[in-house]
C-alpha cells in the first residue's frame, strides 16, 4: 500500500469539504469583510484561518507518525478507531460544542487561534488519522525527518485544498451571492459528520 494514491486524494477531498463548511472559516472571512466594508478584509482573513486549520491537522499528523514509530500497527489502528468513534459519539451528544471567548473583533493571531480550536473541536485533524495510516509514513521510515516531510506534505496538501475552496466560496459569497445563501444552503453538516467520524473509526478498526 506504500504507493497508494488514494490517501492523497482523500486528503484533498476532505480539505475541500472543510473549505465549503461555513463553520470552518469562510463565513468568518465574509463577516469581517462586511463589517469593515472592504474585500481586503475577506482576503486577509483567509491565511490565518488556514494556518490555524493547518496547526490542528499537524497536531494529529505528528501524533499519528510518532505513535506509528513506537507502537504496533494494529494497536495504532485500534487507538485511532477508538478515538474516532468516541469523538463521533461526543459530537452527536453535544453537537454545538465550540470554543468560547471569541468575538467578531479578532486579529491575525486570534483568527488563527479560533480556527485551530474550531478545527480541533470539529475533529478535522482526527478525521485524517485513518488516511494517514494509509500513507507510507510508517512503512518506509528511515529517519524522523523523512517522516516529518511526508507528514508536512500531507497536512499542507489538505490545507491547500481547504484554502483554495474556502477562498473561492468567501469571495463569491461576499461579491455576488450574498448572505441569503445561509438560510437555504447551510445544511446540517454536523450530524452527517458525526456519523462519518464513527464510520471511519469502524472501518479503521476492521481493517486493522
Amino acid at each position: 500500500m506504500s504507493n497508494a494514491w488514494w490517501p492523497w486524494a482523500v486528503l484533498v477531498l476532505l480539505g475541500a469539504y472543510h473549505g465549503v463548511n461555513p463553520g470552518m472559516g469562510w463565513l468568518f472571512a465574509v463577516a469581517r469583510g462586511l463589517q469593515e466594508k472592504r474585500r481586503q478584509a475577506v482576503l486577509s482573513s483567509l491565511l490565518p484561518i488556514a494556518l490555524g486549520h493547518e496547526a490542528a491537522i499537524v497536531v494529529v499528523v505528528v501524533a499519528v507518525s510518532l505513535t506509528e514509530q513506537f507502537v504496533e500497527p494494529y494497536l495504532v489502528r485500534l487507538i485511532a478507531a477508538l478515538v474516532l468513534v468516541s469523538f463521533g459519539v461526543f459530537k452527536l451528544a453535544k453537537p454545538r460544542s465550540h470554543p468560547s471567548g471569541f468575538g467578531m473583533r479578532v486579529g491575525f493571531g486570534g483568527l488563527a487561534g479560533w480556527s485551530f480550536l474550531m478545527s480541533t473541536a470539529h475533529g478535522a485533524g482526527l478525521m485524517l488519522a485513518p488516511v494517514l495510516l494509509g500513507l507510507p509514513i510508517a512503512a518506509a521510515y528511515h529517519s524522523l525527518s523523512e517522516i516529518s516531510l511526508t507528514a508536512a506534505a500531507a497536512a499542507t496538501l489538505h490545507v491547500a485544498a481547504m484554502l483554495l475552496v474556502m477562498g473561492a466560496v468567501a469571495v463569491i459569497v461576499y461579491e455576488r451571492v450574498g448572505l441569503r445563501i445561509l438560510r437555504r444552503g447551510w445544511f446540517n453538516l454536523d450530524l452527517g459528520w458525526s456519523f462519518v467520524l464513527i464510520g471511519s473509526g469502524a472501518i479503521t478498526l476492521f481493517t486493522a
Partner: protein, 468 residues
C-alpha cells in the same frame, strides 16, 4: 420539575426564522401569533403566558388564542425571550441548526425561570422545565431575573440583584441546550453594582448594561427618599463582551434617575444606540440619550427631552401632588429593524411617540398617539377612558405594526394609578414615511395585568445580528 426537553435541531436548513442581517429579517413574513405575559398583582391567581391571534385575516384578530397558567402564585411575569435567535448564525460560534422553540419566562418576584416549548401547540405552549431561584442563586449569585437575550454562545439573562435583595445585579448565562445555569457572566465587574437591561454591539464585541435599582430599592414601590437623593441608577456600563470585563462607566449625572431600556442599532457595523431615562430630578422630564463610539471610548449625549405636563393637585396621586405636574415616565423604548424609527412610551402622560432617527443625534418627532395617562385618561375608539399608559412596546420585523401594553410593575402601578390599572393590549400602525394610527380592530382588555409582548418568529427586540 422533570425535564421534558428534546434536542432542538433542524435537519437540513437552518431554522427559517433566523436571518443573517436585520435587512433580511425585515423581509420576514407577517406574524400571525404573538406571545404576551400577564400577571395578577394580588397574587391570588397564577400568572399566564397568553397567545394572541394577530393574523389580520383571522375572525379572532386581536383576541386571545390560548393561554397557559403557571403552577405557582405571585411570580410577577415581566420580560421574556427565546432560547435561540438569529445570532446563532454568527461566524465565530455558529450553531445554525438549533431551533427557535423555547420561551424563557422569568418571574421578576419569584426569580423562577419557566421554559415553555412552543412547538407542539403554538397557541398553548407547554411548560417543560423550571429553573429555580435556588439554582440561579447558587450557580450565579443573582436573583430577580429580568432581560433575556439569546446570544451567539448561550442565553444571557440580566438580574436586578443578589439573593439577599442588595447589589450587585448583573448577568448570568444559561446553556441553550439543557437550560442549566452556567454561572455569572462578569469576570471583572469594575465599579458596576446596579443592573437592569443589557444588550450588545456584536460587531464591536461590546456589551452595554443599564441601571435601575436593587430589589430592595424597587420591590416596595419607588422610594421618594432614594429618588430625591439621586440614589437610583444613572449610569451606563460598557463591557468587553467575549472577555466579560468592565471597560467603561458613563455617568449621565445623578439627576438622571433610572436608566432603563437599551436599544443598540441593529446594524452590527454601527456602534451607537438609544437609552431612556425615566425622570430628571431637575424638572421631572424624561429623556432619550444616544451612546456612541468615539475613537476608542464611548460617549453619551441627550438627544430627546420630554417635559412634564402641569396638572392640578387634586388630579394627581399622593406621590405626585407636591409636584403639581405629571411626569412623562418614559419606561420602554424600541427601535425598528432598519434603525430608522424610534418608539417611546411615556407611561405617565399616556403618550406614545415616534421619532425618525435616521440621524441618531438629531431625532425628528414624526408621530404621537394618546392612550390613558395619569390625568389625560385618553380613550381608544373601542374603549372608554383608559388608565395606565403606553408601556411595553414591540415592533414587528417589517416595522409596520407596533404592539403596546399598559402595565409597568405591580408595586409601581399602584403608586401612579392608585385606582387600579385596567389592562389592555393594542395595535398601532406605523405609516411608511412616518406617523402613527390606532388600529380600530385591535384593542383587547385583560383581567390580569399585561406586560411584554413578543412576536412569533422574532421582532425588533428579540434578535441580534452579526452581518449588516
Amino acid at each position: 420539575m422533570k425535564k421534558e426537553m428534546q434536542m432542538a435541531t433542524t435537519l437540513l436548513r437552518p431554522d427559517q426564522t433566523f436571518y443573517p442581517s436585520p435587512k433580511l429579517a425585515s423581509e420576514a413574513p407577517v406574524e400571525t401569533l404573538a406571545y404576551m405575559v400577564t400577571f395578577d398583582p394580588t397574587a391570588k391567581t397564577p400568572d399566564r403566558l397568553v397567545t394572541l391571534d394577530v393574523d389580520p385575516k383571522s375572525p379572532n384578530f386581536g383576541n386571545e388564542a390560548g393561554h397557559v397558567e403557571l403552577p405557582n402564585l405571585g411570580d410577577e411575569l415581566h420580560h421574556f425571550g427565546w432560547n435561540a435567535c438569529s445570532s446563532a448564525l454568527c461566524p465565530y460560534a455558529p450553531h445554525p441548526h438549533i431551533e427557535r422553540r423555547y420561551l424563557l419566562v422569568p418571574g421578576l418576584r419569584s426569580s423562577r425561570i419557566y421554559v415553555f416549548d412552543t412547538k407542539a401547540d403554538r397557541t398553548k405552549p407547554k411548560l417543560v422545565h423550571t429553573i429555580s431561584a435556588e439554582e440561579i442563586a447558587s450557580r450565579a449569585g443573582y436573583s430577580r431575573p429580568h432581560t433575556i437575550h439569546c446570544g451567539p454562545d448561550g442565553i444571557y439573562v440580566s438580574a436586578l440583584g443578589a439573593p439577599d435583595g442588595d447589589a450587585p445585579g448583573g448577568i448570568f448565562i444559561i446553556d441553550h441546550d439543557n437550560f442549566s445555569v452556567k454561572g455569572r457572566w462578569e469576570l471583572d465587574r469594575g465599579p458596576q453594582q446596579l443592573a437592569y437591561d443589557f444588550w450588545w454591539h456584536l460587531g464591536y464585541d461590546t456589551a452595554i448594561t443599564s441601571e435601575w435599582g436593587t430589589p430592595k430599592m424597587v420591590e416596595n414601590g419607588v422610594n421618594p427618599e432614594i429618588l430625591l437623593a439621586g440614589g437610583y441608577g444613572h449610569k451606563l456600563h460598557i463591557w468587553d463582551l467575549p472577555k466579560r470585563r468592565h471597560k467603561q462607566e458613563i455617568d449621565l449625572g445623578p439627576e438622571q434617575q433610572m436608566v432603563l431600556e437599551l436599544r443598540p442599532a441593529h446594524d452590527p457595523t454601527k456602534a451607537y444606540g438609544f437609552v431612556g431615562v425615566v425622570t430628571s430630578l431637575k424638572d421631572l422630564s424624561s429623556s432619550i440619550w444616544v451612546w456612541h463610539l468615539d475613537g476608542s471610548t464611548y460617549k453619551a449625549e441627550k438627544v430627546i427631552e420630554i417635559p412634564a405636563e402641569p396638572a392640578a393637585e387634586d388630579e394627581l396621586p399622593p406621590l405626585l401632588k407636591g409636584f403639581k405636574a405629571v411626569p412623562p415616565l418614559v419606561s420602554d423604548i424600541n427601535l425598528s429593524l432598519d434603525d430608522r424609527w424610534l418608539y417611546v412610551s411615556a407611561w405617565g402622560t399616556g403618550e406614545f411617540l415616534q421619532y425618525d432617527v435616521s440621524d441618531p443625534f438629531k431625532p425628528k418627532k414624526t408621530g404621537s398617539v394618546h392612550l390613558g395617562g395619569i390625568v389625560r385618561k385618553a380613550a381608544h375608539p373601542k374603549s372608554g377612558p383608559l388608565n395606565g399608559g403606553p408601556q411595553m412596546v414591540e415592533v414587528s420585523r417589517d416595522g409596520k405594526r407596533i404592539y403596546l401594553t399598559n402595565s409597568l410593575y405591580a408595586s409601581w402601578d399602584v403608586q401612579f394609578y392608585p385606582e387600579g390599572i385596567k389592562s389592555w393590549v393594542t395595535l398601532i400602525n406605523a405609516k411608511p414615511n412616518g406617523g402613527l394610527s390606532l388600529d380600530d380592530g385591535f384593542f383587547t382588555e385583560f383581567q390580569q395585568r399585561t406586560h411584554q409582548v413578543h412576536l412569533e418568529g422574532g421582532d425588533a427586540s428579540s434578535d441580534s445580528y452579526c452581518y449588516p
